[in-house]
């Protein structure tokens, strides 16, 4: 189904919610089966409740030291591969916990995204396409926020956490507009302006907003022809709900035992926050871990960072599963590129985008699979070459988002999946 969707008047979600809200009596009598007879609404039901946690490996992690080891080869490095709990799949010994927990995870070993500089590489993997001057493409988080969030959501749609200074990038909603821009956390674990100032009492905070709403409603009369105007009131109406979500950012609310599971590292704590957010209905959370850019001392760097990744990813997947959330939550482990087969004079690996790996776990994914193949030294993809757009299509399909959806920028259709790309069905459940 190639569904044209106009940005100003999206047909899918809005129509569904609008009609349901407008006729709640009828909605109450509608069975799910009735809903599913309408393909637009069926999609809607399938998408509801889906979430994404993106573990972003900023700087570019080595595929050799993670998902695509090359034992005994000159490019392989000092670490050994180990068996996993899925027969036939081996990964690096630096990920022992994940090795015992591969049943829900698919590995893609055949990414070829060609561009190996940090800025452009990150832009390609964030938007699923090569940047184009003059067009601001939304990133994956903004697209998912738009496709998965409820219009009347009381929680944030897109939260992005990144504490390191190197390689920090703000997410961007591009032409979708800032309704879908991320709430960014950098120096603190809680977003700014989430806490009421002491000088304003809680009653005043609520009642002055009632006054504002009165002015807004009067202003909107006869001005419904501008969606920008209504977005203003919508933003203010979400304030109290988002303030109430402040607790979601507070891991003190979790038991010590749970915090111990995720571990004391910042990455672990942020992953725990991500789980709390997803559990409360936030559709997209990005947690970035820096800085994997190991031009020197690649092996020491990966020994340290992989231990953190392995522990946190394993804890997150287990926790999501125990809560029954994993089947609705897609966990993506991805960076801007991989690292060179050649080991340089500083025992480092440089930028490399021609043959590298990522992983997908949980929602919509056929766990315990490996897709694609690189040659024996990892210089090139020999089977199942995948572009960023193919990965995006796969992610969309796993989330029951129509991967052929098109947005419109004026007269120009812009597909959410880049031209010539399609889902990798082999890793989809």
């Amino acid at each position: 189904m190639n569904q044209l969707r106009n940005i100003i008047a999206p047909v899918g979600r809005r129509r569904f919610l609008g009609s349901a809200a407008a006729s709640s009596a009828i909605a109450a009598n509608m069975t799910v089966l009735d809903l599913l007879q309408n393909p637009v609404m069926a999609d809607e039901v399938k998408r509801q409740g889906k979430r994404v946690i993106l573990l972003w490996l900023a700087g570019g992690a080595s595929q050799f030291e993670t998902w695509d080891p090359k034992p005994g080869r000159p490019t392989g490095g000092p670490f050994r591969p180990i068996d996993t709990n899925v027969s036939g799949i081996q990964i690096s010994e630096l990920l022992p916990k994940m090795a015992a927990n591969m049943q829900d995870t698919a590995i893609i070993r055949s990414l070829n995204t060609k561009v190996a500089d940090h800025g452009t590489g990150a832009a390609i993997l964030e938007t699923g396409r090569i940047p184009e001057p003059g067009v601001q493409f939304p990133d994956l988080g903004a697209i998912c926020a738009r496709e998965l969030a409820r219009a009347d959501s009381k929680v944030p749609d897109y939260v992005s956490m990144y504490a390191a200074t190197e390689g920090r990038r703000h997410g961007y909603s591009g032409f979708l507009g800032s309704r879908y821009a991320p709430i960014m956390l950098t120096d603190k674990m809680v977003p700014r302006n989430l806490t009421r100032l002491e000088a304003v009492s809680d009653v005043d905070h609520v009642q002055r907003n009632d006054l504002r709403r009165l002015l807004a409603q009067r202003f909107e009369r006869g001005r419904g022809h501008s969606s920008s105007v209504t977005s203003h009131n919508d933003a203010y109406e979400r304030v109290r709900g988002i303030m109430a979500s402040e607790k979601l950012f507070d891991i003190e609310q979790e038991s010590q035992a749970m915090r111990d599971k995720y571990g004391p590292t910042q990455f672990g704590q942020q992953a725990l926050v991500a789980r709390r957010l997803c559990e409360a209905g936030v559709p997209f959370v990005k947690v970035a871990r820096a800085w994997w850019d190991s031009h020197g001392q690649n092996f020491e760097t990966h020994r340290e960072l992989c231990a953190d990744l392995d522990h946190v990813m394993d804890a997150l997947l287990n926790d999501l599963k125990e809560r029954g959330l994993l089947e609705h939550t897609l966990v993506i482990t991805l960076g801007e590129f991989g690292r060179t087969p050649n080991i340089n004079a500083s025992l480092g690996r440089d930028h490399f985008a021609n043959a590298w790996s990522c992983s997908l776990s949980g929602c919509g994914i056929k766990g315990g699979t490996v897709y694609g193949k690189t040659d024996e030294d990892g210089h090139a993809v020999v089977d199942g070459e995948a572009k960023a757009g193919d990965l995006f299509a796969t992610i969309f399909k796993a989330l029951a988002i129509d991967w052929e959806t098109e947005y419109h920028l004026g007269a120009r259709p812009i597909p959410i999946t880049d031209f010539g790309c399609s889902p990798i069905d082999a890793v989809l459940a």
Partner: protein, 540 residues
């Protein structure tokens, strides 16, 4: 009685606009209204009513001065009973200290928003506007200015900031100056537009392909460089210097010897690497100079004139006569083709004078319509311009408005006395500048981020800058007024330039009566509700 007033009265009687048979020849506003009304009439649509005085003055002050009017400006305008009061107001605003700042911010947002924070560039824009330079003069300086000329040098920032990405330079120059986004034609002939072929993309790129910046930050052009590309059929081609209209620029044969070419290449590499390398000579043949000459000559100049006429139109009417603005091509016709051609042609005939264009557009009846659609049914299609535009304020314009709305209104009136204002306006501009990053630069499909609402709900900077109870602020001023009703009236006047309406007054009165014990908080929160109303966020 003026013609437009007569028409207004006739309209009131017959509902539909009455038109002459022939379009008027001038002034600009009459031509605009003729064409806009003609299309409305043939569609059988009665446009929205004309704005009341205060609302029109507020709209035009935001548009030309980048701020809201003071209460004395509103009172003065209301009490003026002369026929040409709107023309007088527009001329006063265009000659005020405000105009150049706001015009500068418009051009800066348009051209360099991605490279925010270049003070010299912004100073050059301001200087150019104050000195009345035309749009094509400014374009020429941006493309061909001289690094040795201290006035011209900052204008080269347009090219210098894009020098490490010639494709971005190509597409930005094409879409910003000519309203043509040629990106799609980079990899294939444009799928929707017959006008745009790969030859156009690479032909236009050829004008910029030799541009580079030396280590010492000087803009330079290399000797001939071939731009090669592969067509979708796999054919290898060398691009000609081809302007977007299809005009080809012939280049003299490159007669340099191989040794000379090698020496030139080495000199360029040295300039790119070393601070103190000899300065690059100006090439005998400069493609960028040829681009400007070609783009501004004869029929080719239509694109340059159309692109800016369309942008200025969109600035006041929220959408272009051709929309989107960077899609000026044969498959995307103007909503009012004759008007569009007239505006572009006359803009050129008026020496690309932006002020002439702006003045006429804001004096039109089409500009003066209320943004409220009160008739039955949905508002008519936006391209009919039957109802006034609603436009989000740009970051500095919003910050400036917020600062002035929350200042002691008596101070604001006083500053406006002739001598004090230019210095005060400059100080306010700096303060507004410090707020700009808090707000998004509106693009297509603008919507308000929850971050902005959170900032106003809980930000201590909002509290300190806008809601303090000091005597210099609106809150402090209102606290000195004892009568509750009067407090409400003056708060509305300061922030929204109008009286409270029924329903509003009673709600505000009730809010205040519940806070007699803590009046400071009550007044502060009343002002908060006013400044967070969409009525302040948008020019409507």
């Amino acid at each position: 009685m003026t013609g437009s007033r007569l028409i207004a009265i006739v309209c009131a009687i017959f509902a539909l606009p009455v038109l002459a048979d022939e379009p008027p020849r001038e002034p600009l506003q009459a031509v605009v209204d003729y064409h806009i009304n003609q299309r409305l009439q043939s569609a059988g649509i009665v446009p929205a009513a004309t704005l009341e005085d205060f609302a029109w003055l507020r709209r035009v002050t935001l548009d030309l001065a980048g701020r809201i009017p003071s209460q004395s400006e509103v009172a003065h305008f209301r009490s003026d009973s002369s026929d040409n009061k709107r023309e007088v107001a527009v001329d006063r605003l265009m000659n005020s200290a405000d105009y150049a700042y706001h015009e500068r911010n418009f051009l800066d947002n348009l051209l360099q928003s991605e490279y925010d924070g270049d003070k010299e560039w912004r100073a050059w824009l301001l200087r150019s506007i104050r000195e009345g330079r035309s749009w094509h003069e400014m374009f020429r300086t941006m493309m061909n200015g001289n690094d040795d000329n201290s006035d011209e040098k900052p204008a080269l920032a347009f090219l210098k900031k894009r020098a490490n990405d010639i494709d971005a330079m190509t597409n930005d120059a094409s879409r910003l100056f000519f309203g043509v986004s040629v990106n799609c034609a980079q990899c294939h002939d444009h799928p929707l537009v017959d006008d745009w072929k790969q030859d156009h993309y690479f032909g236009f790129k050829s004008f910029f392909a030799r541009t580079y910046v030396t280590k010492a930050q000087l803009l330079a052009e290399k000797p001939p460089v071939e731009v090669k590309f592969k067509t979708t059929e796999g054919e290898d081609k060398v691009a000609k210097l081809l302007f977007l209209t299809g005009a080809v620029v012939e280049e003299p044969e490159d007669k340099r010897s191989d040794e000379q070419k090698k020496a030139d290449d080495e000199a360029i590499q040295k300039q790119i690497r070393e601070d103190n390398a000899p300065r690059p000579p100006r090439p005998s043949f400069s493609p960028r100079r040829k681009l400007v000459d070609t783009a501004l000559s004869g029929e080719n100049s239509q694109l340059f004139a159309r692109a800016m006429a369309n942008r200025v139109w969109a600035r006041f009417f929220a959408r272009g006569l051709v929309h989107p603005l960077d899609q000026l091509h044969s498959e995307n016709p103007a909503s009012h083709p004759e008007l569009f051609e007239w505006l572009a042609r006359e803009f050129r005939n008026h020496n690309y004078n932006m002020r002439w264009l702006e003045r006429g557009l804001v004096l039109s009846d089409a500009y003066a319509r209320t943004s409220v659609w009160e008739s039955d049914g949905e508002a008519p299609a936006a391209e009919l311009f039957a109802v006034g535009a609603i436009r989000p304020l740009a970051p500095r314009q919003y910050a400036m408005t917020m600062l002035l709305a929350t200042t002691n209104p008596e101070d604001f009136n006083k500053w406006q006395s002739a001598d004090a204002w230019p210095a005060k306006r400059r100080e306010l501009e700096d303060r507004a500048d410090s707020w700009r990053r808090e707000f998004e630069l509106p693009g297509e499909n603008f919507n308000v981020a929850v971050d902005e609402a959170l900032l106003f709900a809980n930000g201590d900077r909002v509290m300190n800058d806008f809601l303090r109870d000091g005597g210099d602020k609106l809150v402090g001023y209102l606290l000195k007024i004892e009568d509750a009703d009067e407090t409400i009236t003056r708060a509305f006047a300061a922030v929204l330039s109008r009286e409270p309406r029924e329903g509003e007054r009673s709600a505000f009165r009730e809010f205040m009566s519940q806070r007699e014990e803590k009046r400071v908080d009550g007044v502060r929160d009343m002002v908060w509700a006013l400044i967070t109303s969409p009525e302040l966020r948008f020019n409507h």
